[in-house]
Symmetry: C2
Subunit: 161 residues, 2 copies
């Protein structure tokens, strides 16, 4: 269904469906995850140990340009690599916890409203949009408070001498 859908799109565009591409497309569409090139490569290698990292990059570029996947940065949590997800889902924002790395997805009307207003105000033809929000999830908010207190305790005892 989903996977077959994207593969069908490519076929109709005259793009060859090689064994490698099928593996990568399946992984991207099935994993509901946000995968970076390296993770995708590691997963793909399990299915085909010969598959090369370069093929992963080339396939991702192809899919990105074809509008089949979106490229994310996730606020550069974890480095400067990019993350990818299918474009089968409705547009959404990504909310990243800067402490634990958990990613939430937000589908709300402000996103559509934003699109419409930008189109109206600037006459832009929007091709893709990306909203990323970094902060602390409820769980990490309390842990952070603890960490800050610890750090202060370690740095401040000047006072005690």
């Amino acid at each position: 269904m989903a996977a077959a859908g994207n593969q069908e799109v490519l076929r109709q565009r005259g793009v060859r469906l090689t064994r490698q591409r099928r593996i990568l497309l399946d992984l991207i569409d099935q994993s509901g995850q946000h995968l970076d090139a390296e993770s995708l490569y590691q997963l793909a290698k399990e299915k085909d140990p010969k598959l090369n990292r370069v093929t992963v990059y080339r396939t991702l570029k192809l899919l990105k340009q074809g509008g089949l996947v979106d490229e994310l940065d996730l606020m550069h949590y974890g480095g400067d690599q990019h993350y990818y997800e299918t474009r089968l889902k409705q547009e959404h924002a990504h909310i990243i916890c800067l402490r634990c790395g958990k990613v939430e997805e937000f589908f709300g009307e402000p996103l559509q409203k934003l699109r419409r207003q930008v189109e109206a105000h600037f006459g832009f033809e929007i091709i893709l949009a990306r909203t990323e929000i970094g902060g602390y999830c409820p769980h990490c908010q309390s842990l952070r408070a603890q960490e800050m207190a610890d750090a202060a305790g370690r740095a401040a005892p000047r006072l005690r001498r």
Copy 2:
């Protein structure tokens, strides 16, 4: 004013105001532009030819972590480098033309609404938010139509043989 403001913040945090940092802060705050590390380095070198590229990176990291500048990707138009801008302005989205690279800024209530909804729905403590929209500006929309027609003319004349 603006420039002095950020320098004052750093001083109060116990960060040393070196000649290099003053130059870089002035450039970032004054240029209303979105500068990447290399451009900033080139500009800074005009004021101090000895200033090193590494110092630019280190200063940007300092400012980013201190919440004094925002880091942008501008949809990776022009490569994978990052762009920087002061955080003195109100929050805004960046609209990038994927053909000419022009960047517009959008300040609208959907952005604040989005923030409030995310805080409410997930209990997130938001530290920073970034919205980037890629598309074609009015001018490039017509140029692109022309280009597409040209490309089709070059690729299709199979029919004529």
